[in-house]
């Protein structure tokens, strides 16, 4: 469908909604293309090409939302969806005690085209498969493995948004990702190494020094090899150096979700009504950002058409604010933060994170390791569980002992657990280098909308009193 036709359909939806007596309409068009290749044991175990194209309509009636959607890109389909959205908003209004209406903002008309050198749509399936083959070769050069894993994922497309304020937005999401892994299962020994990440760029990302398939494969093989000689982790409360990816997951899962204002306005978050309180040590500053100088996910606008900015959640340990959609920002008299996001057109936007990370500290890596002196360097994780009260448990899949101020032996898989609101008080510093990870695989899950790309990271952070679970 031509761009002009899409904008026309979206404007028709807004017009229809307003004629139905609702106060505000957001009409969104998503056209997302997802490709996945699973190359296990040098066979394409699975490969898929998904097209998610459709229109979502959010209607607001006196601060009560109603959402409907349609994959039918026709005037009839869009009008029908608008009628349903308006009806839902009006029907539930009498039951809605927390009205999240919002103030008008100036109209935005912006079209953002991102130029990349090697857009994945311009490359053949065989080119992408070839990268996985190169990565697998590198895994095998490190050790004899039982299983090799190569994953490739890409997402690209277009997003349009039109609303009752006359805003017209267009931008292009993009993400490419490669993961490599090796597994050894032999008599009495099991080991796994798995690594890699993605970026909001073209395939040139896999030509950069640290992210070529060869380097990712070599790393996966090396980590797998290390695990064969891994020792048991210590048990009990341990001073821990937490890597950017490990710390990033902890800050996203444990703290970030507590700061999402839909959870705050209802009073359910344990950090509700605590702005200005000291929740962490002076070494903790937590940021959520749409387009970050540290890389990660590229997200210029959210799904309510709000320009994403840099939101300071915690500054030197003091709670500064929350993550908002337009309604919660008005309700809590806060600045707009651009955190209203939906996984695709079939879902209403809800408050979600963007790139969430610990801000940098002032230590070198060596100084940080020396500071820990005796403890654990937790680098990567696989799986875990978090509670709404800040409790968390993550499986540390790659980590090392720190002995006498040096990183020494690899440790076996172990659980790291604690409560984030306690743990933040025991942060003793961070390094100068911030890294933000993002990717096609994994992603954030909330409200039935799993797999939303986000970024997370930080520097290497020193945290005391992390409960290390010992060998599993």
């Amino acid at each position: 469908m031509e761009n002009g036709n899409i904008l026309d359909l979206l404007h028709k939806a807004v017009e229809k909604g307003e004629n139905l007596g609702v106060n505000f309409i957001e009409a969104r068009y998503d056209d997302l293309n997802l490709t996945t290749i699973n190359y296990t044991n040098e066979i394409i175990k699975q490969s898929s090409s998904l097209s998610r194209k459709g229109i979502g309509i959010m209607a607001y009636y006196q601060g009560t939302p109603g959402y409907s959607y349609t994959p039918e890109l026709t005037l009839e389909g869009v009008k029908e969806a608008t009628i349903r959205a308006a009806k839902l908003a009006k029907s539930t209004d009498s039951r809605n005690k927390i009205k999240l209406d919002f103030d008008s903002i100036p109209t935005i008309k912006e079209k953002i085209e991102v130029k990349v050198k090697k857009h994945p749509k311009d490359f053949e399936f065989a080119d992408k498969l070839d990268m996985l083959k190169r990565g697998v070769t590198a895994v095998k050069e490190q050790l004899e493995v039982t299983t090799t894993i190569g994953l490739y994922g890409e997402i690209y497309g277009e997003k349009y948004l039109v609303n009752s304020e006359g805003t017209e937005l267009y931008w292009v999401p993009l993400m490419v990702d490669i993961r490599m892994g090796g597994v050894v299962i032999s008599e009495g020994k099991q080991s796994q190494g798995f690594t890699g990440w993605g970026a909001s760029t073209g395939l040139e990302f896999f030509e950069e020094k640290e992210t070529t398939p060869e380097i990712t494969g070599t790393n996966a093989g090396t980590y797998c090899k290390e695990q064969l000689e891994a020792v048991a982790a210590p048990s009990g409360k341990t001073k821990t150096l937490v890597s950017p990816q490990m710390g990033g997951v902890v800050v996203h899962e444990s703290f970030g979700h507590l700061s999402e204002a839909d959870f705050v306005v209802t009073g359910q978050s344990p950090i509700a009504d605590r702005v200005g309180e000291e929740l962490g040590s002076e070494h903790v500053t937590i940021i959520d950002e749409g387009v970050s100088p540290y890389g990660g996910l590229y997200l210029p606008y959210d799904d309510q058409g709000i320009k994403t900015g840099r939101t300071v959640l915690l500054e030197k340990g003091i709670l500064k604010g929350y993550l908002h959609n337009r309604g919660t920002a008005k309700k809590m008299n806060s600045e707009l933060t651009g955190n209203s996001r939906a996984i695709n057109f079939m879902f209403n936007p809800i408050v979600r994170m963007k790139n969430t990370y610990f801000e940098k500290g002032d230590l070198t890596f060596e100084e940080a390791v020396e500071h820990v002196n005796t403890g654990v360097y937790a680098v990567d994780m696989s799986g875990g569980q978090v509670g709404l009260d800040g409790n968390f448990m993550f499986n540390c899949s790659r980590g090392y002992l720190i002995e006498n101020g040096e990183v020494t032996k690899p440790i076996k898989n172990t659980a790291l657990s604690g409560n984030i609101l306690e743990l933040l008080k025991y942060v003793e510093g961070g390094t100068k280098e911030v890294t933000i990870k993002t990717g096609y695989f994994g992603g954030c899950g909330k409200g039935g909308q799993g797999g939303l790309p986000v970024g997370f990271g930080g520097p290497d952070m020193i945290m005391d009193k992390v409960l290390v679970g010992g060998a599993q």
């Binding site: 066979i43 394409i44 699975q46 490969s47 898929s48 090409s49 998904l50 097209s51 998610r52 194209k53 459709g54 009560t64 939302p65 109603g66 959402y67 409907s68 959607y69 349609t70 994959p71 039918e72 890109l73 969806a81 349903r84 009806k87 839902l88 908003a89 029907s91 539930t92 039951r95 809605n96 005690k97 927390i98 999240l100 399936f125 065989a126 498969l129 839909d262 306005v265 209802t266 009073g267 359910q268 057109f345 079939m346 879902f347 209403n348 809800i350 799986g383 569980q385 009260d389 499986n395 039935g448």
Partner: protein, 455 residues
């Protein structure tokens, strides 16, 4: 009427996809078409959120010889169908041959369709909001211990069709109505959560769900630590028992992993795997169950498969890919994962595993023990178990100490460690109180010996 119209539409789209395949010189293809109306209304501490829409999409598999490609699209636009066929074809050409691929279904006769309730298709938004309002009213109590309740009601209706170039063209319809309440209570710094729900193919009477969920949360306040690690009999309420056994059998019955030699039960066919009173069937034909369909996700007729008889494992479950490799036919257990289904390739999963009830209900089982642990709700960590060895260690947040045949007090979270497969041989009681649950397996209250329980 609405449902039959929908059936005609999805069959037409399925047929159209095959016509386009022929036009594009694609020899072998399978089209999975789904159209489902979804409406959900949620309420959380005074805030409402609602969504509805028509989930509709197509998943297409194209075979180029023995090379299979898969692609999907949302909606039924003709251009999208053509580009999806082209994408699947492109992927197929690039994949290596899988000599084990034996083709798509060539012939199928739809089995028994479950109950279809036209009241669900006709249910208007106002009525659904009324269902929500009743539950909100139940949760609106003047008790400071209640932190809040998250409530959701909704409907789903629609169907799916499968067509293949080999001559299969079949469909299945369904309707569902549900309500859920998740409650949180606080008392003396202690937090307790509970959950209750109801789901069925007809309009459900949701009254009492809110009160039940809240009372369950209150009941667990005032918990005490267990104190030490003990090996004790554990009594699992039907919901919790169903979770335990669903995890066990979802993995253990997968014929695909048997073929791939990764299944922990692969050498146990015709061997004793459970106590002699353990009888288990997979039955996708029960008219009242929301999982019942006329066909599976590949178009195979759904029926009934005997799984465990007198504790002896009698069969694994298969789809149309792994069944022939194992030397048998598909058992009609190909499913596509939620939430979109059409975006996922078929995978083997139970239709509805039903455990034959025993003789003692929950209270009678509790009364039979001098000391035991009674477990309710959703334990944490079931999904992180080692399914190769079967070892599990879960955290039960809603557990109670049983002494002298009675529940004496709630327990602070306890970890329960054991082994899924060894547990089957240590079942002491199968209850007489099965509950309708939207899980792969429905169990009654179970008592199992030999689990390690610790604070």
């Amino acid at each position: 009427m609405v449902l039959e119209k929908l059936r005609s539409e999805i069959l037409e789209v399925a047929d159209l996809a095959l016509k386009y395949a022929k036009d594009m010189s694609i020899q072998t293809a399978e089209a999975y078409i789904i159209k489902n109306s979804l409406t959900e209304v949620k309420y959380s501490k005074g805030k409402t959120e609602c969504r509805d829409g028509m989930l509709q999409g197509i998943g297409i598999r194209v075979a180029e010889g023995k090379k299979v490609g898969f692609a999907t699209c949302a909606g039924f636009a003709h251009d999208s169908i053509k580009s999806t066929l082209a994408n699947a074809h492109k992927i197929a050409k690039n994949r290596p041959e899988d000599p084990r691929f034996s083709g798509f279904i060539s012939d199928s006769k739809p089995g028994k369709e479950g109950i279809l309730d036209t009241n669900i298709t006709e249910l208007d938004t106002e009525t659904l909001v009324g269902h929500l309002a009743s539950l909100v009213k139940e949760a609106d109590i003047d008790d400071q211990r209640l932190v809040g309740a998250d409530i959701e009601v909704g409907t789903q209706w629609g169907g799916f069709a499968v067509a293949t170039t080999e001559g299969c063209l079949v469909s299945s319809l369904n309707t569902a109505h549900y309500g859920t309440v998740y409650s949180v209570a606080m008392g003396q710094g202690e937090r307790s959560t509970a959950f209750d729900f109801k789901v069925g193919r007809t309009i459900q009477d949701l009254s009492g769900l809110g009160s039940n969920a809240i009372n369950k949360a209150f009941k667990h306040l005032g918990s005490k630590p267990l104190g030490k690690s003990l090996k004790l009999p554990t009594i699992w309420e039907p919901l919790t028992a169903s979770m335990l056994l669903s995890t066990t059998f979802q993995v253990g019955l997968n014929g695909g992993t048997v073929v791939e030699k990764q299944n922990p039960l692969m050498h146990k066919l015709n061997e004793q795997i459970a106590t002699k009173d353990f009888q288990l069937n997979d039955d996708g034909t029960i008219p009242t169950k929301i999982s019942s369909e006329a066909i599976d996700a590949e178009g195979t007729t759904i029926g009934k498969t005997e799984i465990v008889k007198d504790g002896v494992l009698k069969s694994f479950l298969f789809d149309n890919f792994y069944g022939p490799i194992f030397g048998t036919k598909s058992t009609g257990n190909a499913q596509r994962n939620e939430p979109t289904r059409y975006e996922n390739m078929p995978a083997i999963s139970p239709n509805k595993l039903v455990l034959q009830p025993g003789t003692k209900n929950k209270d009678e089982q509790i009364a039979a023990y001098d000391k035991a642990i009674f477990i309710e709700g959703f334990p944490m960590g079931m999904g992180h178990s080692n399914m190769i060895t079967g070892d599990f260690s879960i955290t039960a947040t809603n557990a109670y100490l049983v002494e002298k045949g009675e529940i004496v007090h709630p327990l602070k979270p306890v970890s329960i460690a054991g082994n899924f497969f060894e547990s089957l041989m240590k079942i002491q009681h199968i209850g007489s109180d099965p509950v309708d649950l939207p899980f792969p397996l429905e169990s009654s209250t179970l008592t199992i010996d030999g689990h390690t329980v610790s604070s």
